[in-house]
Symmetry: C2
Subunit: 375 residues, 2 copies
C-alpha cells in the first residue's frame, strides 16, 4: 500500500477545482526545485550519487524501465542520453521487461523511473536486474519508497506530492532529471562541447519561466478540449521527440476523458492508421522539432486531405503550418531537445478540460489507481 | 512506382471473394516455400548468404528496421534472435530510425524488412545505415526490388505475389525467415544445444500443416467478427510475443474495417487504458505463452470485471481460461516461440470478416496504398 507522507496542508487544492489542475500549475516550481542544487555554472553536479564517474564512464548500454507516464518520460530520456552522451539506450515497459530474459552485462546500467517508487512491475524489474548483476539507478519522487530504498542509486524528482491519478508534474520533473543525467554523462564521456553544454544548461534554467508562460494557454486549450469533447476517436501524431510527447498526451486524454485516443509516429500513418481518418476526426499534431518540420507538414497535409481537424503545436514554422492546420499553438523557443517539457503542458490542459467538459471525475478516473502496486 | 512482376494468372482470385482471403489461405504454401531449401537435417543453410560465418559471429548488435506489418514481424524477430542467439536487437519503425542519428558500430548488423522492397522510409534507412558503415541484410518478397538490389545481403520470403493492401502471407513468411536466421545465428554462436535446435526445426516443419488446420477456424472467426462489426473501439492485449501479434492483429482490423482498435501490452492496461474498458467493449486477449498465462488470466479478469467481452486465443491453459473468457480459441501446440505464426491467422480472418460484415472494400481500404513508396 502506498502512503502519502506529506502533511495534509500540502495536499489541499488551494482554490483549484481539482488536484490535477493544481499540479499542472505547480510545474514551474517542480522544475525549478528539481534543478535546484544540481547546477554549478555550466556543470551538472549530483552530490549524492554513489556510482563513481569511472563506473558511469564505463557504461556501454542503458536500459530504462518504467510503466505508463514514467515510461513516456523514459522515451525522452533515451533521446537525450543517446544524443548528448552517445550511449545506446533501450526503453521498455516494466511488465514486459521483467519476463523477457533481458540481455544484461556488467556494463549495462538499468534506470527505473517511478513517481511513487512502489509500482509493482517496476520494482520487480529493479530486483530482477540486480539479481542479474546490473546496477540500478532509480528516478523517484517519493522519498523512502521501495524503489528509493532498493535502488543502488537514486536521483529524486522534487515535484512534491502528486495526488491526481493522472501524472503531470512528476512527468516534467522526470524529464528534467533525465536531461541533467544525460548532461552529466556527456561531460564524463567528453561527448559534448563546453559551448553546447552551456547552451543546454541555460535552456534548462529558462524552463520554469517558459512553463509559466505556457500555462497562459489554459483558456485556449479549454476551447480546443470542448470542441473535441464528443469525439469517439482522436489521434496524436508526431515524429522523434514529438512522438514521445504524443504518447504521453494521448495517455493523459485517455485516462481521464475516456476518449479512445491513440498516438502514432507520423510516418507510420500510411501503413494503416490513415484508414481511420475521415471527416471531422480530431488530430493533434506535434511539430516542435525544426529538423522534422517539413515531414510533419507533409503528414498533416495527408490527414487534412482525408478531412481531419488538426490542432498543431510548434515552436517555429508558423508560416508553413498556419496555412495547413486548423489551429496552431506556438510554444516559446527552446532547444528542440527540451521541447517536450513545454509541449506536454498544453496537452495536459487539453486532457483536463476534455474530462471536465464530459463531466467526469478528473482526479479519480474509473478503474485506475494512483500507484499500481499490484501486477 | 511499384510494379507487380508476376503474370496475370497468378494474380487472380481463384474463386476467393477477395485477394486478402486468397492470400490468407496461401499461408501454408508460403511457409513451406520459405522453408524450402533452407533446412538440412537439423541445420539451417543459407546457400546465397554473402555475409561470412565469421562476420556474423562477430555481430554484437542488430537493428531491425521496417514499417507497418513488417515492423511487427521485426518484433517477433527480436524475441527469436535474442532468445536463441543471445544478440541484443532493437526494432524500430523506419520513419523514426532514419532521422534519429542511430548509434551504429562496425559490429552492428542492420536488418530491413519489406514485402515490396520499395517502402520509401525503409529504403532510406537502408541507405543511411550503409552510409554509416553498417552491413544491411534485407528480408524481401519481391525479387529485383530496390531493397533486394541495394542490401548487402538478401533473404527472400517466398510468399508469392501479395495483392491485397493488408499484408498477410508476407508477414508469416517474414516470421519464418526471422526464425531461420535466429537459428542460423545461434548455431554460429553456439548458444543453442543440438536438441533445442532439432526441436525448433521440427516445430518449424510442422507449421504448414498446423496453419492449414488453423484455417479451419474461418467460420468461427466470421462469427466473432460479425459480433464486433458495430463496435467503435476494440482492444487487443497480450504479453511478450503475444503483444507483438496483438499489434499485428490490431493493425489488420484497423486498416480494413476502420474500427479503432489498439493493441496494449496487457501489463500496461492499469496505467491508463483500463479507463476505456466499459460494458460490452470487445477485447481480444492473446494468451499463447505458457510462462505468462497466469499473468494474462489476471489481466483478463481485470477487463472482464469492467464489463469487457473477451475473445481469447491460447495454446494451453484451457481449464483456467474457459471459465474466465467469453470465447476461447485453441491453437495447435507448437513451441511458444513459433506461436505467432499460428496466432495471427485467426486474427487475419477476424479482420477480414469484420470488414466484409461492414460492407467495405477489403482489398483496397480507403486512404491506403499497397506499397508506401512516398515518405
Amino acid at each position: 500500500v502506498f502512503r502519502v507522507t506529506w502533511d495534509l496542508a500540502q495536499a489541499e487544492k488551494e482554490g483549484y477545482a481539482h488536484f490535477m489542475l493544481k499540479e499542472i500549475h505547480e510545474q514551474p516550481k517542480a522544475i525549478r526545485d528539481t534543478l535546484s542544487g544540481r547546477l554549478e555554472g555550466n556543470r551538472v553536479v549530483f552530490p549524492d550519487l554513489k556510482l563513481s564517474p569511472t563506473e558511469l564512464a564505463a557504461v556501454e548500454k542503458i536500459h530504462i524501465v518504467a510503466c505508463g507516464t514514467a515510461y513516456h518520460a523514459g522515451l525522452v530520456g533515451k533521446a537525450a542520453i543517446e544524443r548528448l552522451a552517445r550511449v545506446p539506450v533501450d526503453v521498455e515497459v516494466a511488465s514486459e521487461y521483467r519476463y523477457r530474459d533481458p540481455l544484461l552485462t556488467e556494463k549495462t546500467l538499468v534506470i527505473v523511473i517511478s513517481q511513487s517508487g512502489e509500482t509493482a512491475d517496476t520494482l520487480a524489474a529493479l530486483r530482477e536486474s540486480q539479481r542479474r548483476g546490473a546496477k540500478v539507478l532509480g528516478i523517484v519522487n517519493v522519498v523512502g519508497s521501495s524503489v528509493a530504498r532498493e535502488a543502488d542509486d537514486v536521483l529524486f524528482t522534487w515535484a512534491g506530492p502528486e495526488i491526481a491519478v493522472a501524472s503531470t508534474k512528476a512527468y516534467t520533473a522526470q524529464l528534467v532529471v533525465l536531461y541533467l543525467f544525460a548532461l552529466y554523462l556527456a561531460e564524463l564521456r567528453g561527448t559534448l562541447s563546453e559551448a553546447e553544454r552551456a547552451g543546454l544548461v541555460a535552456a534548462l534554467q529558462a524552463l520554469p519561466e517558459q512553463t509559466e508562460a505556457v500555462l497562459g494557454l489554459a483558456e485556449t486549450m479549454k476551447g480546443h478540449a470542448e470542441s473535441v469533447a464528443s469525439a469517439t476517436s482522436l489521434f496524436f501524431i508526431g515524429r522523434g521527440l514529438d512522438y514521445a510527447v504524443a504518447q504521453e498526451g494521448s495517455l493523459k486524454l485517455k485516462e481521464i476523458s475516456y476518449i479512445h485516443s491513440e498516438a502514432y509516429a507520423a510516418g507510420e500513418l500510411k501503413h494503416g492508421t490513415l484508414a481511420l481518418i475521415e471527416d471531422g476526426v480530431p488530430v493533434v499534431a506535434l511539430a516542435t522539432q525544426p529538423n522534422l518540420l517539413d515531414k510533419m507538414v507533409s503528414n498533416i497535409t495527408e490527414v487534412k486531405a482525408r478531412g481531419a481537424r488538426v490542432i498543431a503545436l510548434a515552436m517555429t514554422g508558423e508560416a508553413e503550418l498556419a496555412k495547413t492546420v486548423d489551429d496552431l499553438i506556438l510554444l516559446p523557443p527552446t532547444d528542440p531537445l527540451l521541447a517536450p517539457v513545454l509541449a506536454v503542458v498544453p496537452l495536459q490542459l487539453f486532457a483536463y478540460h476534455a474530462a471536465v467538459a464530459r463531466g467526469l471525475d478528473v482526479d479519480k478516473p474509473r478503474n485506475l489507481a494512483k500507484s499500481v502496486t499490484v501486477e
